[in-house]
């Protein structure tokens, strides 16, 4: 159950930013490794890319695109708040980050399938 002091929009925006950042940081080494295959084992890379055509993998990629987008928009919101003193409408901006991220990830998915 959500602790009562956490159930408000900006706390949820915070945890989304933290978890998306953590997930991206964990994903990066795998991403780098796969790309390095181009040099060390081009056939393995082709095999991987072929594997990545599966629908389930596309959905996972949709998730990754969403994570990148939401971390990007969330980060811009935070910097606008901290450095440009955009203190109004932070909740609306946080909600908009999530909405735009879905839009971007959905565009990716629609072109991928």
């Amino acid at each position: 159950m959500m602790r009562p002091h956490r159930s408000h929009p900006l706390w949820l925006a915070y945890i989304l930013h933290r978890l998306s950042g953590l997930a991206l940081a964990i994903f990066l080494p795998a991403h780098f490794y796969v790309l390095s295959l181009a040099l060390t084992a081009p056939n393995d890379l082709d095999g991987f890319l072929h594997w990545a055509d599966k629908p389930l993998v596309k959905v996972a990629e949709f998730g990754l695109v969403f994570l990148l987008a939401v971390h990007f928009f969330g980060g811009l919101r935070l910097m606008a708040f901290e450095l440009l003193a955009w203190s109004k409408d932070q909740k609306t901006l946080a909600a908009a980050s999530v909405a735009f991220s879905f839009l971007i990830a959905a565009s990716f998915l629609l072109r991928a399938i």
Partner: protein, 241 residues
């Protein structure tokens, strides 16, 4: 209201720094009853050993804050009817502070951080000087004005998960106080304050979760004050302020 027919089931945390547990009390429900009224009633009618802290009873002194149903609140201004779940309400000491006994927390770490954040006024004039004139529409005065009505209740401090994760972190109240002084033209040590809030545990650890502003009983916005400190320290790092 009829005694007994309308009873509150109040769960009160009992214990000390070594730990404790919740104890149940039956308290008669009354109109316009506050959480502090309930705590006082238990102590006066059932168990005189119940420890808690309060002074003014009217939301000015900031000493009666407790955790009510898991959320930090000023208990003297919290109506039972607003927070009741069925007939039940749970009252515990504030989070993020050491417990002395029952509902009374040790506020020393909280106030030590005010000093560490240079949250003390650094005068430049003596009593023989003219009183400094500050225009109420001056931009810095407007910034300070928005943050100045803090009653030191530590509700923001108890609600902050960054304090929980990093006990070194100065916390919303101390940083909010530092921000009012940064904007006080009469304060003589602006750069020392910016220096103090830039140390390990300083304002840059804030993750803008905003629980401080969400739960501040005086509707202040420490998160905005801390953003201001981040901005001013960054400016001064690049030599522009």
């Amino acid at each position: 209201m009829a005694f007994g027919s309308n009873t509150l089931d109040v769960s009160v945390w009992r214990g000390d720094a070594d730990g404790g547990k919740f104890e149940s009390f039956q308290v008669p429900s009354q109109e316009s009853q506050t959480i502090l009224d309930v705590v006082v009633w238990i102590q006066q009618k059932i168990d005189p050993s119940l420890a808690y802290r309060y002074a003014c009873r009217v939301g000015m002194c900031g000493s009666c804050a407790m955790s009510v149903n898991g959320q930090p609140r000023w208990t003297c201004r919290t109506h039972v009817q607003k927070v009741l779940r069925g007939r039940r309400v749970e009252i515990a000491p504030l989070r993020n502070l050491p417990v002395i006994k029952d509902l009374a927390t040790d506020m020393d770490p909280f106030f030590e951080k005010w000093v560490r954040a240079e949250g003390v006024f650094h005068p430049t004039l003596t009593r023989n000087d003219e009183i400094a004139r500050v225009s109420p529409v001056d931009q810095r005065r407007v910034e300070a004005d928005a943050a100045v009505e803090c009653i030191n209740c530590a509700i923001c401090y108890a609600s902050c998960d960054t304090v929980q994760g990093n006990p070194d972190y100065l916390g919303p109240a101390a940083l909010n106080r530092a921000w009012t002084l940064v904007n006080d033209v009469k304060d003589g040590k602006r750069s020392s304050i910016l220096e103090a809030v830039s140390q390990e545990g300083g304002c840059h650890n804030c993750h803008s979760q905003g629980s401080c502003a969400k739960f501040c009983p005086n509707e202040l916005s420490p998160i905005t004050s801390i953003a201001g400190l981040k901005r001013e320290t960054t400016k001064s790092f690049f030599g522009r302020g």
